[in-house]
């Protein structure tokens, strides 16, 4: 969570707010199955960049807000986002040295796992999706990762967030 001595921490929260907006913004019907996991992408980046500030507790709190927005059981998305952050943080040392395409691949695997966990959780609550199309958002997110990553890195340099 944000420490008092940190600089420009509010920008991180601003990106999360924008991520929340993006995750509920209306999309054309055919694109809804492709909606990227915006919050997970942002969390992955900030957890890699500022591990002392953005961690699993942040992810969990954001997940709770997402639960309220989506009307799912409180704790469902919180668990998923905490899982994603945990995996990213545990691979952090390696991920930092990887080239971008390799990072994308790791992101694909992590998000795919998270989406499968999501499927399992929603099956428990009786809303089982009929197809495996829910892995598509992981794919789209992995493709978006380089752009998100470069964009946020630029933002971070510019505002000297640390």
């Amino acid at each position: 969570m944000a420490g008092n001595h940190s600089r420009n921490g509010w920008i991180v929260w601003l990106t999360f707010a924008i991520g929340l907006l993006l995750s509920v913004s209306p999309l054309p019907q055919f694109m809804e199955v492709l909606r990227p996991l915006w919050l997970a992408l942002l969390l992955a980046f900030w957890a890699l960049a500022l591990p002392h500030k953005v961690g699993m507790v942040t992810a969990w709190c954001l997940g709770l807000t997402e639960d309220v927005l989506y009307g799912t059981l409180l704790g469902q998305n919180a668990l998923i986002l905490a899982l994603i952050t945990f995996l990213v943080l545990s691979l952090q040392q390696r991920l930092r040295t990887f080239p971008m395409w390799q990072q994308s691949l790791v992101i694909l695997v992590i998000f795919g796992l998270a989406q499968l966990a999501q499927l399992w959780l929603s099956a428990l609550t009786g809303n089982r999706q009929p197809t495996l199309a829910l892995v598509l958002p992981a794919l789209v997110s992995a493709l978006l990762w380089p752009w998100v990553s470069y964009g946020l890195r630029g933002l971070r340099r510019r505002f000297k967030i640390n």
């Binding site: 209306p26 699993m56 927005l69 409180l74 704790g75 945990f86 609550t125 809303n127």
Partner: protein, 346 residues
Amino acid sequence: MGVRFLVLVVLSVALMVVDARFTLLKPVRSQMSLVLMQTYWITDLPQRLFQGVASQFGSRTELAAENEKLKTENLLLQGRMQKLAALTEQNVRLRELLNSSALVNEKVEVAELIGMDPNPFTHRIIINKGERDGVVLGQPVLDARGLMGQVVELMPYTSRVLLLTDTTHSIPVQVNRNGLRAIASGTGNPERLELRHVADTADIKEGDLLVSSGLGQRFPAGYPVATVKEVIHDSGQPFAIVRAVPTAALNRSRYLLLVFSDSRTPEERANDAAQAQEAEQKGEAPPIVPATVPKPVTSVPATAAPAAATAVAPAPAAAEHKVVKKPAPAAAKPPAAAPATTRERQ
């Protein structure tokens, strides 16, 4: 780090179980939604702005044309309404003859759609009326053409509506033509409902209108739900496959109607109706004992002798029924009867 993750996992699972089983977390959720639901409002803002701008810059000819169209439509609808008034009156009279419970007029209120559920596998929408506006859980939602769904989650100023076509939703319906009952289930396709367990020999065919039957005690009876699109008789299947298209524009309507039907039980409703009627009759002819002059008989045309004869038979029963149902409170608390009257005769 692993320990922290484990703690969070346990916490999440505990939260999920508590949220699924108990109502303990409902206040927390509604407080959080108070702030968070603004995001739907914000994401809806561009469209709202666009509409505002479009209405600002609409040309005069366009507006005149629209006005013309609306006037024509209004005329047509009012013409239909005239007939409806007569039919309603007739229906009430016939129901009185049959001594069955009176039809109740439902009150409706307009709500606006502010968001769609981001999950593409569920059909849920978010509307701008919530608990503080008097919306209740399970309340039916209509659009101009038919039933859309029901309220499944209440928040202070917004609520979530489950549409008819969601895979977890089913609604008891009735074929308008012959009263055949069935259950229409959602398929996850916004343009299709399926009727479950319809016998192969059942009298149902393409183009039939399905209306809500009111049997589930959730949806009011008589609202259009869907039209039958195809009936497939497959000899390999135990039941006919019946597919229907919802009459409501589930993925296009922006303005919806919330139906407020009264929560009284049928008995209470009958009681209230009887009291209301008595109060009315008292108002008409105060000195005479009201029960001796059954209203239905007077309204039956005198020329239809056999009809009148048959009508007289049940009428005394109705009258007796009313006498029994006339306790002291009818006179003692007119304020209670008065609102009931307005509700019935709206």
